[in-house]
């Protein structure tokens, strides 16, 4: 039993540079848990938002008071109950998974090797060439898709170290209980309603990231990329034999 499972591994090892997986097990597992909890957070976030799809700036805001933005969504109360239950459940899953991922990224060479861009790659010329190629929907070569380019690296770093922390902190700033423990958090964002508004825009930014991410995955070859994120390898090992 052990032998038959071992054979294809040796075969690939000999012929290709695929001996270490494209994505490590921790990245793969945390990726899919985050994907599931992101979807749950998005759906439940919309359920909470539609109870009052109006955004304000400052501490307070209500119908009759001046708003910052009136979203073109009808007011629909009655969904925020399950919305909140699901939102906080998936927030816990997402935050704990994120902590595990960041811990892994710091303790292993993951962040340093895979996400930190090389200084030489940070020139405008190189970055604009990548963006131009992406906008022309130029399919990356097999070799290019073995590592992340500078734009991908910067984007992932921004999502992991800016957008995620910001959406967690603005979420906590809205909590009256947390505001009583750490008043500076709510006041730092300019008030409970400001925190709610920032929370909304960071969510929009994350949805935009998700759309571009999905588009790039499709461009690079959906099956191969998704397989790499599930099994660790972009090509099916048995087919290669």
């Amino acid at each position: 039993m052990a032998e038959t499972a071992y054979l294809p591994w040796i075969a690939i090892r000999g012929s290709e540079s695929l001996d270490s997986p494209r994505h490590s097990a921790v990245v793969r597992v945390t990726h899919w848990i985050t994907a599931a909890s992101f979807f749950a957070l998005l759906v439940s976030g919309i359920a909470i938002l539609i109870a009052h799809p109006r955004l304000y700036w400052g501490q307070t805001g209500a119908l009759g008071a001046p708003s910052l933005i009136d979203l073109p969504i009808p007011f629909m109360i009655g969904h925020s109950g399950w919305g909140r239950y699901l939102h906080f459940l998936s927030a816990w899953v997402s935050v704990l998974t994120g902590l595990l991922y960041v811990l892994f990224g710091v303790l292993t060479p993951h962040f340093r090797q895979k996400l930190l861009p090389a200084k030489a790659d940070l020139s405008w010329r190189r970055i604009s060439r990548i963006v131009r190629n992406d906008l022309r929907l130029k399919r990356p070569t097999e070799e290019e898709s073995l590592t992340y380019n500078a734009v991908q690296r910067l984007t992932y770093l921004a999502v992991v170290f800016v957008l995620f922390p910001l959406i967690i902190l603005t979420g906590l700033a809205m909590s009256p209980a947390i505001a009583s423990v750490v008043p500076a958090l709510r006041n730092g964002f300019g008030g409970q309603q400001s925190a709610r508004t920032i929370h909304f825009f960071v969510a929009v930014a994350l949805v935009l990231f998700f759309c571009v991410h999905l588009a790039m995955v499709c461009l690079a070859g959906f099956t191969g990329r998704v397989r790499a994120m599930i099994t660790g390898y972009s090509a099916a090992r048995k087919e290669r034999l």
């Binding site: 039993m1 052990a2 909470i48 938002l49 109870a51 009052h52 109006r54 501490q59 307070t60 805001g61 209500a62 119908l63 009759g64 008071a65 109360i77 925020s80 109950g81 399950w82 909140r84 239950y85 699901l86 906080f88 459940l89 998936s90 927030a91 816990w92 809205m174 909590s175 009256p176 209980a177 947390i178 505001a179 009583s180 423990v181 008043p183 709510r186 006041n187 409970q192 309603q193 709610r196």
Partner: protein, 265 residues
């Protein structure tokens, strides 16, 4: 060899799972003793709810204070959620300026009592300017006049077994003979929230009598939780060691309509 390895792996996994499960069981019992389990802890959503409630209870102390604002921060607009009860008794009490209204406090207390509005107004009063957010998303700042809930709790003498303070307003059928048939916006808070210095019973708002829409003659104000926790139109307060025998047993009528019991979010 591989078989033996997998058997060893199986035994290790089994032992880890058993240790994990009994660890969770012990953790659950400790958490329950320290009041870290909310009444709506069942189901998959209950897991998230329990973690949130336990985490916040461990983070918060009596010194975790909701921000007190200035008079200049008071909102011009203080929306009212829902109409005052159409209940016949409530309407006649309202018409009579609540002169015949009495607040009943009973349950796990040394001296079950009734208080008139005039008696409550003779308690040492306090003014607090709090931010209040509705779970829908809107919010306002208002000044509340009343007295700490802890004042009246000390007056009636809380028995050590008490774990929850339960609030019934005129928007519930609190006078039902069978407590399990009680419906509406009744609510309960744990003792940590009840003894907190900013948990108020308010009879005044923004320098005037509490308007009917905002919960006249008396409402709860717990500024460290969402507005739906601050029960309006109070009639009866009872202390208990369990909320399992009231309504469907989730600690608040709102849970039966899908809203979580703990609203510290």
């Amino acid at each position: 060899m591989s078989e033996r390895l997998s058997r060893r792996k199986l035994i290790t996994t089994g032992l880890t799972a058993a240790a994990g499960a009994s660890g969770l069981g012990i953790a659950g019992r400790i958490a329950d003793r320290y009041g870290l389990i909310p009444p709506d802890d069942g189901g998959i959503y209950g897991v998230g709810e329990t973690v949130t409630y336990a985490a916040q209870r461990l983070l918060m102390s009596r010194r975790s204070l909701a921000r007190e604002y200035n008079r200049s921060d008071i909102s011009k607009i203080a929306p009212v959620k829902g109409e005052p009860p159409e209940h016949e008794t409530y309407q006649s009490l309202l018409a009579g300026g609540f002169a015949d209204w009495r607040l009943k406090i009973d349950g796990l207390v040394a001296r079950p009592s009734f208080f008139s509005l005039a008696e409550l107004k003779r308690f040492p009063s306090e003014n607090h300017i709090f931010h209040q957010a509705c779970e829908e998303g809107w919010s306002f700042i208002a000044e509340w006049t009343g007295f700490p809930l802890s004042y009246i709790l000390n007056l009636v003498g809380v028995l050590p077994q008490a774990k929850y303070v339960v609030f019934f307003g005129f928007d519930t059928n609190f006078d039902a003979v069978d407590k399990q048939t009680i419906k509406g916006k009744w609510n309960s808070i744990d003792m940590a929230e009840a003894w907190h210095p900013q948990s108020l019973l308010a009879y005044g708002m923004n320098g005037r009598e509490l308007p009917p829409g905002h919960g006249a003659p008396l409402r709860l104000r717990v500024p460290r939780q969402l507005g739906n926790k601050s029960t309006k139109y109070l009639s009866w307060i009872t202390l208990t060691d369990t909320v399992k025998d009231i309504g469907q047993g989730f600690g608040a009528g709102g849970v039966e309509r899908g809203f979580s019991w703990y609203a510290g979010i």
